[in-house]
């Protein structure tokens, strides 16, 4: 991974001036690389990491195991792409094992998720079955612990 990407991942700050200062490069130069990385589809964007238990959303998330029929040309791809396009779907992954797709669905409440699954997802031609698990609490997302580990108010501010 390039230095630029690793520092963006660490700091979460995409400001070219800030990044240029760290990397000893001009903001224009950083901007140019960012544009290149976006054009190449390497850097897809950045999203804020919000602790769901402290956010304002009150949203419901579910993890859905979906079995689908593979197709003669393209295997699982066409159906996976189709399912991914619903805005309710946050993540969609092809899996090995007892089911084919792991789909994470977000809704404003339990009823909204249930409606999506029963009326939209399960009714797609080629979807054989769904098993829905509602997410109760998150402890780690995108590699970040959601409780503030390591903050120690008694750690001395100056030490030898």
């Amino acid at each position: 991974m390039s230095d630029l990407l690793s520092i963006i991942q660490e700091t979460g700050n995409p400001d070219p001036v800030y990044l240029g200062k760290i990397l000893d490069r001009s903001p224009e130069d950083v901007e140019k690389e960012l544009t290149f990385l976006k054009d190449e589809g390497v850097l897809m964007g950045w999203v804020p990491l919000i602790n769901p238990s402290k956010g304002e959303g009150g949203e419901v998330k579910s993890v859905i195991e979906v079995k689908i029929s593979p197709e003669r040309e393209g295997g699982f791809n066409r159906l996976a792409h189709r399912i991914s396009k619903f805005e309710e779907v946050e993540d969609c992954h092809l899996m090995s094992g007892a089911y084919d797709l792991l789909v994470i669905v977000k809704g404003k409440d339990l009823h909204a998720v249930a409606t999506f699954v029963s009326e939209r997802l399960a009714t797609i031609d080629g979807v054989l079955s769904t098993a829905t698990h509602f997410l109760l609490r998150s402890y780690k997302e995108h590699g970040h612990l959601l409780n503030r580990e390591g903050e120690n108010p008694e750690k001395p501010a100056v030490s030898a």
Binding site: D3, E10, T11, I22, K155, A157, V158, S159, A160
Partner: protein, 399 residues
């Protein structure tokens, strides 16, 4: 009742640590950004913490062998041989201590008769001179020079030698300067130690945090293993400061002498920390390399920023400290610089003289902290330095 009449003279005569004085001020300014912390910003890797929890769950709450768990000493023996060269017998040549600090204390107490002289390079870790005094030894500090990035200078030791010198203390990479020691200099120093019949105490706590070249231990040079106490620990490389566990390796007669003191004053290092240390040595090296990579990038950033703002700063080749020179460009001595920087810009760095008089004109800034803090702290420092220079231009220098 005069309390001073009751305190032992060699204790009441000890100077207060410059760090403690500064700590008292910084503690009242929780909003300040501190680059004054002498420990990793990383939390101990989870696998190491988890092994300590597991040991607790299994009821491992007892004393251990005074020398430390044999399983840990075996791991230490293998680790030291693999990474540093010398082979030590886990049975009688390794002692697990409560951090390297304890090991330094008991090594000196085991070796020093009143008046024996101990040579060490300076600037250096804050405990060296007091530990020598507490062992009733005489401290012979030998300056390392900013002109040579505070690297080991064997010629300076040869010049400083005088009759009565018994011990040579080394700490490379060095806290606070990041100075290191190369093969040629170590070879020369090793010959000097043999010629003058010196015992070497080599504190290599920052060894894994060497960024350029390979770290070499003086114990690996011909004739040195028999006269060297090799000290190392888990605090810095493995980010385990709070576990308080280190170790000493050396010839059995020296380890035996240290054991005599250790068994009466410390008994043993905490068992849960020893269990964590085993996991660190078995499975922690990848975490060490990851942290070293992060420190290295932060070092490059901080050193560049100091030089950009006109604070002459050599590239520390090891440890996680930068040691810029502040006095020539600001006309402030290091203590005044630190106090004003803290009060006016809310950034804490440590005066170089906290690490001995040869740290004059310098400050120690730790780069073991997040980019966010480093970027902000160096921006504030730059403004502060510009402001001090502007004041200086309006008031010509005296003389």
């Amino acid at each position: 009742m005069n309390p001073q009449d009751y305190i032992a003279k060699h204790v009441s005569g000890l100077p207060r640590s410059g760090i403690r004085d500064f700590f008292a001020i910084v503690s009242e300014m929780p909003q300040a950004i501190s680059l004054g912390i002498g420990e990793p910003d990383f939390i101990t890797p989870w696998k190491i913490r988890e092994s300590s929890i597991f040991a607790l769950e299994k009821g491992k709450t007892s004393y251990t062998d005074n020398r430390g768990l044999l399983s840990l000493r075996k791991e230490i023996s293998a680790y030291v041989e693999k990474h540093f060269g010398p082979a030590y017998d886990p049975g009688n040549e390794i002692l697990v201590t409560v951090g390297v600090s304890e090991a330094i204390d008991i090594a000196l107490r085991a070796l020093i008769n009143p008046g024996d002289k101990v040579m060490y390079h300076e600037p250096c870790y804050v405990s060296y001179a007091p530990s020598i005094s507490l062992a009733f030894g005489e401290a012979i500090p030998v300056a390392t020079s900013p002109d040579y990035s505070f690297a080991l200078d064997p010629d300076a030791f040869e010049r400083a030698w005088e009759p009565g010198c018994k011990v040579l203390m080394l700490n490379f990479p060095t806290n606070p300067t990041g100075g290191t020691a190369n093969r040629e200099k170590l070879e020369k120093l090793a010959k000097f130690a043999v010629e003058k019949d010196l015992i070497v105490i080599s504190d290599e706590i920052y060894a894994e945090l060497t960024y350029e070249g390979e770290h070499l231990s003086i114990a690996s040079f011909p004739g040195m293993q028999d006269r060297t106490i090799f000290l190392h620990g888990f605090s810095k490389a493995f980010a385990m400061t709070g576990f308080r566990v280190g170790f000493a390796c050396g010839p059995d007669w020296l380890i035996d002498a240290m054991m005599k003191i250790h068994q009466y004053c410390m008994m043993c290092a905490p068992i849960l920390s020893q269990e964590a240390a085993i996991e660190a040595l078995r499975n922690g090296i990848e975490d060490v390399l990851r942290m070293r990579d992060q420190y290295s990038k932060r070092r490059d950033f901080v050193v560049r920023r100091f030089n950009e703002m006109g604070l002459d700063c050599h590239l520390p080749r090891g440890s996680f400290y930068a040691f810029p020179s502040v006095s020539p460009s600001t006309r402030l001595d290091e203590v005044e610089f630190c106090h004003r920087l803290l009060r006016e810009s809310e950034v804490a760095v440590v005066p170089g003289t906290a690490f001995g008089p040869h740290g004059k004109g310098h400050v120690r800034a730790s780069f073991s902290t997040s980019y966010e803090k480093l970027v902000e702290a160096t921006s504030r420092m730059e403004k502060f330095v510009d402001q001090v220079r502007a004041e200086n231009q309006s008031v010509p220098a005296a003389g």
